[in-house]
Amino acid sequence: MKSAGSGARRFRFLAAIGVVPFLGYVAFFLIIPAGSVMIQAFRDNNGRLSLSNLATVLSSQQPWLHSYVVSLELSAVSALIAAVLGLVGTVALVSSSNLLARRLVTTACGVLANTGGVPLAFAFIATIGNAGVATHVLAEIGFNPYDHGFSLFSFTGLVIVYLYFLLPLVVLLTLPPVEALRREWREAAATLGASPRSYWQKVGLPVLTPPLIATLMVLFMDAFAAYATAQALTTGSVPLVPIEIGALLAGNVVSNQANLGDALGFGMIVIVVAAGVLYVLVQRRTARWLR
C-alpha cells in the first residue's frame, strides 16, 4: 500500500519535471511578454502610472476604437463563414464511405490550417490580385471582378484570404464531434418518423452547438491575432489592431508611442482572454458528449 503510494508520487514528480520545459517556454514567450505589455499599457511617457494610454485608445477623437471595431468585424465574419462552410464539409466528409478521401482531406487540412503570412498573401495576389491569373482569365471572358467593386486589398479580400486557413481548421476541430454523432440516434429518429431535417434540428445541431461555439472561439482568436497576411495586403487601409500596433512599436514614422501600442495590445489580450474563457466553459460541456 505504502510502496504503491510513493510510486504514484514519484511518477507525479517525474511528470512534473517533464512539464518544466513547457512551463519555461510559456513563461518566457507568453507570460513575461504579456505581463510587460500590461504594465507598460498603464505607464505614461514619463514612466509614471497612468490611465492616459487607455483613455487615448478609447477616445472617440482617435482612430484606435474604430480599429477594434474593424478587427472584431473581420474576425467575426470570417469565423462565421468558415464555421458554416466548414461544418457542411465535415458532415459530408464523415458521411463519405471513402476512407482514402477522408484521410487525404484531414491531412491536407492539417497542413493548410497552418498556412499564412506573407507567402499566402503573395499566392492570392498572383491569383486574384488586380494582375492575378484568375482575374486575367475572368477579364478575358468579360467579367473583371475589379470592375464590379471587388478588390483583394479590402475587407472582403481579407475575409477570402482568411477562409483559406480557417476552413481547414474548422474541419479539424469539428471532425471529432461530428464523428461522435451516433448512427443509432439518427436511426432512432428515423424509426420514430423524423425527417432528416428535423433530425438535424432536434438532435444533430443541439448536440453540436457547444463544440461549434468552441470552434467559433478558436477561429475568432486565430483571425483576430493574424497580422502578416493583412499587413502585406492592406498595410492598414483596413485598420486592424495588430497593424496599428506594428506601426506604433516597430515603424519608421511614429516614435515615442510604444506605450500606446502596449495599451492597444492590452485591449487585444482582454478580448482574447474573454473568448478563451468562453471556449473553456463551452468545451467542458462538449466533453460530456464526446465521452
Partner: protein, 377 residues
Amino acid sequence: MLAAFAAVTGSTASAASASSSDACWATAVNLASCGGMSTLIAAAKAEGTLNLTADPDTWANYGNIIKDFGAKYGLKINDFNPDGTSAEELSEINLDHGKSNEPDVVDVGPSFAEEGVHGVPGSFKGPILARYETAEWSEIPAAWKSPVGYWAYDYSGVMSIGYNASVIKTTPTGFASLLLPEFKNAVGLSNSPTSSAAGFSAVYAAALDNGGSLNNILPGISYFKHLNAVGNYNPTEAGGAGDAPMADKTVLATLDWTFNQLSWQKELKAQGIDWKIVIPKGQPYASYYAMAISAFAPHPAAARLFLEYMYSPTGQNLWMEGGAVPATITAMEANHTVSSAALAAVPALSEAPAIASQSQSDKAKNLVVADWASAVG
C-alpha cells in the same frame, strides 16, 4: 594650443600601448582624440569586424558600400537585420548588449536619432548614442546635425514616381497623372504612411503639390483619399517586401525615394520591365536619414572609421551613385568632388527640395496617424 596638446597626448598614449588604443576610441569624439586616421585604421583592423543593422544591399547603394569599405580596410561587415526599421535599430542598441549581433552604427529617421539622445522615459535612458564628429563635420549644415555631435544627417531621398513604362505609355508628370484610369488599382506605396518614412513623405510631397505646405499636410491626405476614391490606390506593400508587386504588375507606379526606384529599376530590368523614374513637377520633397554610433558599440574604432568613410567624398559619392543625395553635397559641389557616376544617378532637380523640420514633421505625423485609415479605408 590646447587642441595641439590633446593631440600630442593622444598619440603618445596610443603609441605607448596598442591595446589601450581601442579603449581610447570607445570614447573618442573626433579623429584627434586618439591619434588620427592611421591609428584609427590600425585599431579598426585589430577589431576586424563592423556590425551594421537595417542597411539592405538594395537600399541607397549599401551593397556596394559594404563591399568597398570591407575590402578597403580588410573588415568583416555584418548586418543581422537588414530589413529592420528605425524603431528596431534603437531596440537592438538597448537589448543586444554583449550579444554577437549588437550593432555598432545605426542609420535612422531623425526623430529616432533624437530619441536615442534623450531616451524614452519609462523605457530607456538616453543617450544610447556616442558623440563623434567626423573630419567633414563642418561641411554638414548646422540644422542637419546634433549640436553636440550625437548624430548627423547622412543622405536623403527625393520623392519620385517610378512607373512601368513597358505598360504605361504616357509619361506621368506629377501627382495628377496618377489619377488617370490607366493606373487603376495600381499606384502603391512601400507601406502605410503611419509606418514607413517613404510612405509618409509621399503624403507630404502630395500636400506640397496640392496647395499644402510643410506646415499643412492635410491636402496630401485628401490627395490619397481621392486616389483611393477613383480606385487607383493599391494598399499592398509595394517595396516594403521587395519589388515583387512591381514585377508581377500588381503595382504599375510607386511613390518612393529616388534611391529605391533606382534599385528597383535595376532589378526589374532583368525581368524585362522598363521601370522609369520621374520627379513630380513643382517643388521636390526630400527627407534625410541620420547616422549615429551606438554608445555601447562592440567595435568602437570600426564604427568611427565607417563614419569617417561615409562622410568623406568617397562614401558620399557612393550613396549618390545609389540615387541618394548626400548631406555634404553643397560642399562637395564647391570642392568639385562629386563623381560623374554620382551626378548621373540622381535626377536633376528643378529647384531646391523642401525639407521639413522636426517640429513640422512631428505635427504632420500626428495628423497622418489620426486620418490615414479613414482616408483610404
